[in-house]
Symmetry: C2
Subunit: 333 residues, 2 copies
DNA sequence: TGTTATTGCGCAATCGATTGTGCAATAGTA
DNA sequence: TACTATTGCACAATCGATTGCGCAATAACA
């Protein structure tokens, strides 16, 4: 069904049909009678105008590309949901791409989305390259979770540095000095900032960093597991481990359990990136909670400012610490 | 940049440019020399043809609509990932809709996606209405996770009945007779089948079902929590609880913990829908593991069969039981 | 009645790519 | 040389909706 067929059935022109259906009857002085006829017929046929034709003519698709490294990571799944809901309110739909944390896939995805003429892009980049992100001269883009230093691509992220600093200070306040940090993807801004916050807190508290390893290279359970195995081979165990995301934390727990050690008796554990089940783990897992709703909503708002031709402002939203039993005080009384 | 501009720059027609760029040079006898010129210029301009125009002309969008009740539920997030990857391999992109388990949103989403002329639909329906799903006369549709009895809309799902039967039989084999079942959304096929499996297993083992409550009404943490609170008010506690999805299970655990009770000493717990962190919970949570990759991949394959004009076959994939410490044997020695 | 204003709607171009058909120019053959 | 076959490419219509402009028909007014 097309407006042409509707028009034929009513013996009027497609022009008139189009104008009625787009609510421009007043502007173009379509008589109330004609307008009603059109609306009625459209309703009985359950007619919806072909958006492809519309998009072509209007040079606008009402579609946003959402690029995410791993939608099965609950952090991104939550983010995706917030974003989808926020965009739906504004009459935009979401074209979803999962890059599997692979820069090549990300690059390809950008190309595909631009060819489809999305109105804007929301990207949680893998983090290693940015050139392809600047291909979108005319298409506004907002980065989420990760960003690029010295590049002027706007971004919305957790204040990873602050969160990490707070987490580390908390561990130190509980008497921990030999703290190991299992990091995520190394060249990622989020990871860099978390590591910086970690190291800065150590220095600010005059901790000798000889024993404070940073190891790992990936936001995965496997990395948490593998890295912890390495840590546990060392005769001198760390008293606490700081896992830089929720998946790493799971791997760390698994490795500790398998080694027959206990959290927090043998090793304390704290994770960046709170999840609902953390309080039910054995033991309940202390975490830094990211303001996920805030990130999603702010990202959408920022994108819309760009779409309206305004300037975008970057945001770093503050996370909060949720202390739980997985961190034990080892202060001597 | 358009093929027209490319054509002008080379002083040839858009026809020729189009034919070269779509790889039809041979078919239409474009000389190797001309073809090369076109390819070179396209490369230097990083030209990619406008897909909107292409879609309109070809009456095909290479886009699949994916409708999901809750992308923040890890079950669906995982499914979405599998599906995205499988579709990408076949040169399709994904338009994502999160219905928030709301039939009205689902209905709206179907309309939006059809107006955008998606080539096909993959839908995990809320489950209460199906009429809107049949609007897609010409657009093939495959249901995932949930389906409609007596309707001929093809579906791919876990064999929920079998999984539930196995889970319940396992509990019974451990001596449990007073088993409570906290269910999800009542009118959902998945839920119905799980409850049927549960009740059938009880009957087959001649369990007096007077004490085997089925309560709850929603796939949410809150429902698990609330329903368990109700259960715990009763002086005669169940010896085991069967939670019908991962979110419900979390709520159940939380309520049990808050009541000062212990799993499995006071109550055993088993969950439908395994998650990676289940083995790290306190205690490790027994679960029925759904074949998620299988569901996603089969759904995509089935959709493609429909796209190729073939008949679709429904699938019910077998889940597996993963026994863990959360279920205790209460058999008298 | 003659003139101007207003009402109601349609013509045809446009968005960018694809494609059936056809027409020169060149090559091949007798 | 005359005629046919082949090569190489372009014309123009098409997909479905939108919109600037214009033209009748009717209304309003003098």
């Amino acid at each position: 069904m097309t407006i042409k067929e509707l028009a034929n059935e009513l013996n009027i022109s497609t022009t008139t049909v189009s104008r009625v259906l787009t609510g421009q009857e007043k502007k173009y002085r379509i008589s109330a009678k004609t307008a009603q006829k059109v609306k009625d017929l459209a309703k009985t046929h359950q007619f919806a105008p072909n958006q492809i034709a519309r998009n072509l003519r209007l040079q606008k698709t009402n579609t946003i590309g959402l690029i995410i490294p791993d939608i099965s990571n609950p952090f991104f799944a939550n983010l995706a949901r917030t974003i989808e809901v926020a965009l739906r309110k504004r009459n935009k739909m979401v074209l979803l791409c999962d890059t599997k944390d692979d820069t090549a896939v990300e690059e390809e995805s950008i190309g595909l989305l631009l060819a489809r003429k999305v109105d804007g892009l929301l990207v949680a980049p893998v983090g290693e390259k940015w050139e392809h992100l600047e291909k979108s001269n005319t298409t506004p883009i907002v980065l989420i979770d990760r960003y690029f230093e010295d590049k002027k691509i706007p971004y919305i992220t957790t204040d990873n540095y602050a969160g990490s600093y707070e987490a580390t200070s908390y561990l130190i306040s509980k008497g921990h000095q030999r703290i190991a940090c299992v990091q995520g993807r190394i060249n990622t801004s989020a990871n860099k900032n978390r590591v910086e916050g970690f190291q800065r807190a150590l220095r600010d508290h005059q901790i000798n960093t000889t024993h404070t390893l940073v190891l790992g290279d990936d936001y995965s359970v496997e990395n948490g597991y593998r890295s912890t195995k390495i840590l546990l081979e060392n005769p001198e165990l760390p008293t606490a481990i700081f896992a830089l995301n929720n998946q790493i934390a799971l791997g760390v727990m698994k490795a500790i359990n398998e080694a027959g050690l206990h959290i927090p008796e043998n090793i304390s554990l704290l994770s960046f990136d709170e999840q609902p089940y953390f309080e039910l783990l054995s033991p309940p897992l202390s975490a830094i909670k990211q303001p996920m709703e805030g990130i999603g909503i702010t990202a959408v708002e920022t994108l819309f400012e760009l779409l309206e031709g305004k300037r975008a402002t970057n945001s770093r939203l503050k996370p909060t610490l949720i202390p739980r039993a997985s961190v034990k005080s080892i202060l001597k009384p």
